[in-house]
Symmetry: C2
Subunit: 320 residues, 2 copies
């Protein structure tokens, strides 16, 4: 390990992220995953009760790749009382042929946000309608911001509406997002989004649907990124029943959590209705084929995204 390990802070990582385009790496990761080339063992977990916290260890590699990656991510939900971030984490990149630790990315969970937002952009590339009239975002948090940020390179539309739970968070959102050049509206009324937007991203921790099936117009694409557990649920299961295409980041995982899990549990769809994102990327016939289709993508987060983003960042940092 001596002389080999490079350690990078969040500031260094953010700086290098300006110069790289992670979408291609994330796309290649999903393709490898759907081709069965990714080894991802079960997630390691530590649970703390007092104060409540959880730690997850996600790790794996793409066969015949140069590296393997271990990500440690934590959520300690009372950290706000201490003026500390709720979510934290780091990623470790090792050489697959020797086990050498080549870098530690002290990203404080930021790269998880980046890889999630990048997946949203990948989805939009293959499933969003050709003419996006307006982008609709549910959730004025970090992911609500970053999804818009990463859609910028994929979608021409500069009009967006964001829904949030209070005007204060919406005002802060508008302030933060103005530099990105969007014509941004905010709303506290959820139905404004499906009425005006044909590319919708849901990025909330909601446990009950934000959208009903009746509200969804033909030609709409919805990417759901909020629900990453078996309890969370942002979409009325009938939206998935109504959809012409349902895409999972990981079929295996979406059978256990997220919107697809909810819709299967409600008897609205079955496993045969689902296609996997890595297959959508490589097979034109699985991508949006008309301006009339309703499409839904369920992103629950796959370790191959962590593998790809950390490698991309490490390689960019190396070449500096």
């Amino acid at each position: 390990m001596k002389g080999m390990t490079k350690i990078f802070t969040l500031d260094q990582i953010k700086e290098v992220l300006k110069d790289i385009e992670p979408l291609q790496a994330i796309e290649r990761g999903f393709v490898a995953y759907s081709q069965g080339k990714v080894v991802v063992p079960p997630i390691g977990e530590l649970i703390f009760k007092e104060p409540p916290g959880d730690v997850h260890i996600k790790y794996g590699y793409i066969a015949d790749d140069e590296y393997y990656v271990i990500k440690i991510a934590s959520g300690f939900y009372e950290n706000c009382k201490l003026n500390l971030p709720t979510h934290n984490g780091l990623m470790l990149v090792f050489k697959q042929k020797t086990g050498e630790l080549v870098c530690i990315l002290l990203d404080e969970a930021h790269l998880t946000n980046v890889r999630t937002a990048a997946a949203g952009a990948v989805v939009a590339k293959y499933l969003a309608p050709k003419n996006v009239e307006c982008i609709g975002i549910f959730g004025a948090g970090t992911q609500g911001r970053m999804q818009v940020e990463y859609l910028e390179s994929i979608v021409d539309c500069k009009d967006a509406i964001v829904w949030g739970i209070n005007q204060k968070e919406l005002d802060l959102y508008r302030e933060d997002m103005e530099p990105f050049g969007f014509n941004l509206k905010t709303t506290l009324d959820a139905k404004d989004i499906p009425e005006n937007c044909n590319l919708i991203v849901t990025a909330t921790p909601s446990k009950s649907p934000l959208l009903s099936a009746e509200q969804i117009k033909k030609g709409t694409h919805i990417t759901a990124v909020g629900a990453d557990t078996a309890e969370k649920n942002e979409l009325d299961p009938r939206i998935l029943q109504k959809a012409d295409r349902i895409v999972a980041d990981s079929v295996d995982q979406c059978l256990l959590r997220g919107e697809i899990y909810q819709a299967i549990k409600a008897g609205m769809i079955s496993e045969e209705n689902i296609v996997e994102l890595g297959n959508v990327i490589v097979k034109k016939e699985l991508q949006r084929s008309s301006d009339e289709e309703i499409t839904v993508a369920d992103l629950t987060g796959v370790a191959v995204q962590d593998i790809q983003i950390s490698k991309a960042v490490y390689e960019a940092l190396l070449s500096q």
Copy 2:
């Protein structure tokens, strides 16, 4: 994480190890473990075939303690061809109440060796005969050296015999160990050890017994540290049958691997014959009670040792 994470290299770790006495920390760890206060989830594993390598993620915490620890350890068995160490690793220490990463110990697997050797010394403290005539070591590798090094603070005896597989490694061993002030003999004949020694440590990767039951004299203590898988085996199972006390570092783990596993599989002992080290430490009636007893301790390595050694090193580094 900002401003909090401290990163220490092997040189820094070795320097601070000179000032600390890890035995107490390891002892407290075993006691907490036997009292059911240690949370240790299943080990995470990544396996590589070409070239052969394995990565293990061990993690856990003691309830109501300040920290939790994640250890990453790898073995890449063709690294020697590249002039790289076969074994490598690092330990990460986090705060249990907030998830903050407080330090990264880039110990290159050294602390695993330390915690294993320290466990050998803890065992000797409670199970070695009062008058150790001569220390016998099987295996002239790293652990064969470090077991002797850590016994120094527990056992007065300065006579030792080491057995190895060739004279070259034995000569190197003697050279390395001379500074510790032992009167050291080397041998290629295994039976020299049980004939002359009443405190024996086996520290080899052997898959067939190095010692037979007939060779073991009354009053002998044996600590077996080499066998950490279901295949490895250093002691004739009849030695355990003959023993007056059989001690496991972790009963649960010793039922699945190591000398106890082998002896149970051979029908020589049963689970009821085993006591756990953490209980031996606190209960005088479980410790050696005469100079006639034959005692055997099977050390397969428990994550609580990693937790304790990394915390001890971190705290010592902090107070510098």
